[in-house]
């Protein structure tokens, strides 16, 4: 039975999926409710029945957080292929190529830039669908690029981890991505730019134990698993029952590791507020009413009252702390 569920069934499902272009119904993994795809999209992939936040891909994520869903992705370098010539039951190069074909990406991270609430931001988003979002040299490369881009653009850096941890098939080089990514975000902090981590399901292992726990602010999506050691490993070590809600976002909030657990529908507004507060610390300029012109210009309607929206567009002249120019 296991053999069928593990290896044959996914293949059959993949075949079926290809023949039915619209996968019309989704089953909530938490409550089992069948949800119509359009309802699910409208609800930002949160189950309308139980509130479970389903895992989403990087493109859905980017559309969700940037103003008007608009952003530009950047070209990422092709990662060094298989530095260890790693092979388990399968060659790593084959696994990698499969993941690349499946996702259309070089590796497990997408980097994009745009604005959030009018504030420039760079977002680095993990793709859990690419080998479990595991961090190897490709993800390291992407994060280094993201940090550099944020630096050049004087933008905030946002990272959305969704990762099982280090990519075993890259051995020690995947472990080295821990100090590498820490060094990358260090520079952002030195420049006085905000580094915000939005922890999504799951964030574990070497990803959590490096840049992901070093944000100025940590937000987390409800119910996400966030931790260092895997639950199975812990259970095998201590041979005790794990407490309810262990390593969930709410547990981390309670233990002081995240600042807020934010529902997906509130995420964009929350990020906009945070970025504005951190990068635009001074009160925005007041619009002073201009004296009415003495002479009525024929054919021109009287000046309408400013709606206040333009206050958002006052030029940002702030120089980040630590910069001496």
């Amino acid at each position: 039975m296991n053999w069928i569920t593990n290896s044959v069934l996914p293949k059959i499902q993949a075949l079926v999926r290809r023949e039915v272009p619209d996968n019309l119904w989704h089953k909530c993994v938490a409550c089992g409710q069948m949800i119509f795809h359009r309802d699910l999209e409208q609800n930002l992939h949160v189950c309308p029945e139980c509130g479970h936040h389903l895992r989403i891909g990087p493109i859905e994520r980017l559309k969700m957080v940037f103003d008007e869903g608009k952003y530009d992705t950047i070209q990422l370098p092709k990662p060094a292929l298989d530095p260890l010539k790693f092979r388990d039951q399968k060659r790593y190069t084959d696994r990698l190529r499969e993941a690349q074909t499946k996702t259309g990406r070089n590796d497990a991270m997408v980097v994009a830039h745009g604005t959030i609430g009018g504030v420039p931001a760079v977002a680095a988003v993990f793709d859990f669908g690419f080998m479990g979002g595991s961090m190897g040299t490709g993800v390291g490369d992407a994060l280094v690029r993201a940090a550099k881009l944020a630096e050049t653009q004087n933008a905030a850096l946002l990272v959305f981890p969704s990762s099982g941890g280090a990519r075993m098939q890259e051995g020690i080089l995947s472990l080295m991505q821990m100090p590498r990514t820490v060094a990358a975000v260090d520079r952002i902090k030195e420049r006085g730019l905000p580094f915000i981590v939005i922890l999504t399901d799951p964030t574990t292992g070497g990803v959590t134990a490096s840049f992901a726990m070093l944000g100025d602010i940590h937000l987390a999506e409800p119910g996400s698993i966030i931790g260092f050691a895997g639950q199975r490993v812990i259970q095998e070590t201590i041979r005790e029952q794990l407490p309810d809600g262990f390593q969930r976002a709410e547990y981390l909030l309670e233990h002081g590791m995240v600042d807020a657990v934010v529902h997906r529908k509130d995420l964009k507004a929350t990020l906009g507020r945070i970025l504005a507060l951190l990068l635009r610390p001074r009160p925005t300029a007041q619009i002073v009413a201009l004296p009415q012109p003495d002479v009525e210009i024929p054919g021109k309607a009287p000046a309408t009252k400013d709606d206040g929206k333009s206050t958002n567009h006052v030029a940002d002249t702030r120089t980040p702390a630590g910069e001496s120019d």
Binding site: D88, T137, M178, V182, L214, A229
Partner: protein
């Protein structure tokens, strides 16, 4: 009582014979000394042959050998006027991480190491060298102190990894490791890290982000244990040896990959056969690294360290 590894069996047999002959020599036979000499030469040949071509899995066993010098042995052998320091100042002292100030070849230094413990009792008290958040926070505290007093930092890494437990997770194991890495990168003093035995994953790299990373000849350093890797990727413990090979976790592999800077030679038959000789060899290597790094100013040390790790596994443009 010496503890022999499986593949050391032929050597153990020969040494057993030597012991027997030495007992006999009390009875007055003359040619026994000759025989002992011949056997000892044979032991040496056998050791050389075995240790020259240890497999990755054999190295894992050597690296975990209980007679191997641990962090506290390194401190005892290499550091004078050692003053142990304890506690993270917020929760507890973690016995899995030892540290303190002392003198290395006349110079004041900060020493930090993961300690597995020498006896069963100690091993339990020290969680077999698997640190909890308070351990990494103590390490961070000591590194920051070293930075304030311009003391070079020497670390000795020997751990299977960070402790996987409910309490460790509740107190932020991931955050504690991340901060430790961040602090290794931030300090403006020389950081010389040595993998003396087992370098296990995040729990090891937390203390191993150095200007120089040294590694004992038969030490291992990896993102995951071969046992863990085999159970995940091969779904069977039977493939532990294959996993050890595939992970490229030996000092020789890591030097080739550019992850470590130098290999510290061990005496014939491994550091466990002669810990003192091994530690003298380590002292020499650290001394050379320190002499070189002492010429640089703090800012330069920090930038070089950061650039070195930013380049680890970087794609070519």
């Amino acid at each position: 009582m010496r503890h022999f590894l499986d593949f050391e069996k032929p050597i153990a047999d020969l040494e057993g014979k030597i012991e027997e002959l030495k007992h006999l020599s009390g009875t007055g036979e003359m040619n026994i000394a000759d025989e002992v000499g011949k056997l000892q030469a044979k032991v040496e040949r056998q050791l050389r042959a075995t240790y020259q071509k240890l497999t990755a899995w054999q190295k894992v066993q050597v690296a975990r050998h209980s007679d191997r010098p641990h962090a506290l042995d390194a401190i005892e052998h290499l550091i004078e006027d050692f003053q142990p320091l304890a506690g993270d100042r917020s929760f507890a002292d973690d016995a899995a991480i030892v540290g303190g100030i002392g003198r290395f070849r006349g110079r004041s230094v900060m020493v930090i190491g993961t300690e597995k413990g020498a006896t069963t009792e100690q091993r339990v008290r020290r969680s077999f060298g698997m640190a909890r958040p308070e351990g990494y926070r103590k390490a961070r505290r000591l590194m920051q102190m070293a930075d304030r007093f311009a003391l070079p930092i020497l670390t000795f890494v020997d751990t299977a990894g960070a402790y996987p437990g409910i309490d460790a997770e509740a107190r932020g194991q991931a955050e504690a490791i991340a901060r430790s890495i961040e602090t290794c990168l931030a300090v403006r003093v020389p950081v010389i890290a040595t993998i003396i035995g087992e370098g296990g994953s995040g729990g090891a790299v937390a203390l191993a982000v150095g200007n120089r990373v040294l590694m004992f000849e038969h030490a291992v350093y990896s993102v995951i244990s071969p046992e863990g890797c085999a159970s995940i990727l091969w779904r069977s413990g039977e493939f532990t040896k294959d996993a050890a090979e595939a992970l490229k976790m030996t000092a020789q592999d890591l030097e080739r990959l550019g992850v470590i800077d130098a290999i510290v030679p061990e005496p014939l038959g491994g550091a466990h056969r002669n810990p003192k000789v091994a530690l003298s060899s380590l002292g020499k290597a650290i001394g050379e690294a320190l002499d070189d790094l002492a010429k640089r100013d703090g800012g330069q040390l920090r930038i070089e360290r950061r650039d070195k790790f930013l380049a680890m596994g970087a794609a070519e443009d």
